[in-house]
Symmetry: C2
Subunit: 234 residues, 2 copies
DNA sequence: GTAATAATTGTAAAAAATACGCTCATTCTA
DNA sequence: TAGAATGAGCGTATTTTTTACAATTATTAC
């Protein structure tokens, strides 16, 4: 379907829906965003979010998963609908709704080759170029959502490797909230929640002493939720 | 447009978009929802959210405002997009996305005649009948959003008259959170935020002594936000 | 003028958030 | 191999916020 309609632009007598993905990663203490160069007219070659038209026989969320897998090779990652963008004039070519979804991926796990093949690149979140259509707005909205959501739900872990250190986790939250956190209080708070499993291994990539690795304890987290606990980080 | 396509159902080779409105009100200490009987096949006559197809030349948010005005006569009320519902099989008749929006209205201000003319009725939120399609899911999601949102943003005021008493406000929050609040602590917390303007009038509808009326102080609230304050109620 | 009703007020205790500095484990190098 | 360098890890005191809890006040109805 994409192929057919991408030839004729200015199709305003028919409705289309696109699934656009805001793909976040985390590396080197900074939040990253995966962008690629648009492959279809109009605006071919411009930086853009990764997206696709939604097929008529396909759920919107499936469309987003399909796109994500195409570009990164990843399945079963955290993905949530951000919102629908429905201005009549948002796309000069089509009357096209976009349902934006954001994904959090472990930057060490994606298929690098596949990403390069599609002409995609990781950008620091504070160095995003001009994007096509209303995609900059989508990114801004997604970042806002990420900030809000990270405070009350442990979605940050989706951006870290399965095994991570507490200083890494703190770095992540500092990147999301864009402010420094006190390491003693941060550690105290996190450990008090009882959702981290301490491993016997250390990560020595960033210090001579090495820092203990932890895993997220999803079982305990679910218990915590069921008990009506009001989860909150930093 | 609605008229044309409502004749032929089973149009699955074309995409439609609907704007469905979850309209909340508050009266007698209970959260209410405005529903009406569906006017088009399939499922004509069943209880349903109020909605309409989105016209091709119309913003999605405009479509929702249009519907709301048609039914209640109200404009400029709080309305926010909930999310898009995009399952391929969500509507047996059409391939139709729905962008659900929720509105908070002052139940004393709507146009009662207009509402009745459209066959609409107010239901207590815990007595919602079976609705068409995925509308029950939408209501559940909207309620969840309302609960979350009310805690960190003063949207509750949108459901009360311009002038309200503190006991009324407490009733509202008790209805939203579905738990009792301590009246001394509630009052203390609310007044400490400095976003209520005490008036010289009293409301005597619920007590012999009468309770002082207050207005929401939007200016002070905006100041509070700008100063980076972390607003939280109850 | 007395009973009834809901509105209003204060204080003490507990819990959570914040501020803050030193020691530890390990590696590197002199 | 001793000592310097580096980030990891820990504890305590202070402040702020939240919670728990009961008596008084203004007004109306009898």
């Amino acid at each position: 379907m994409t192929e057919i309609i991408s030839d004729l632009y200015h199709v305003k007598d028919k409705l289309y829906a696109a699934a656009d993905c805001i793909i976040f990663g985390f590396e080197g203490g900074r939040i990253k965003l995966l962008l690629f160069r648009r492959r279809v007219e109009p605006l071919k070659g411009e930086w853009s979010l990764i997206g696709s038209f939604v097929r008529l026989d396909e759920d919107v969320s499936e469309a987003a998963k399909r796109v994500l897998k195409e570009i990164t090779g990843l399945e079963n990652v955290f993905m949530e609908q951000l919102k629908a963008y429905g201005k009549a004039d948002r796309d000069p070519g089509f009357r096209c709704l976009s349902i934006a979804q954001y994904a959090l991926i472990r930057i060490n796990e994606y298929d690098e080759e596949l990403v390069e093949k599609h002409g995609a690149h990781w950008f620091n979140i504070d160095e995003i170029p001009d994007l096509v259509l209303d995609h900059n707005q989508m990114v801004a909205d997604a970042l806002k959502r990420l900030k809000q959501k990270a405070r009350y739900q442990p979605i940050g872990f989706e951006l870290l490797p399965e095994k991570f250190t507490i200083p890494q986790l703190q770095q992540l939250y500092e990147a999301i909230y864009q402010r420094d956190l006190d390491s003693r209080n941060f550690r105290k708070k996190l450990l008090s929640l009882n959702v981290l499993i301490k491993l016997d291994e250390k990560d020595k990539s960033s210090s001579k002493r090495g820092a203990f690795l932890y895993k997220f304890d999803d079982k305990n987290y679910q218990k915590l939720l069921e008990s009506g606990y009001n989860f909150e980080i930093a």
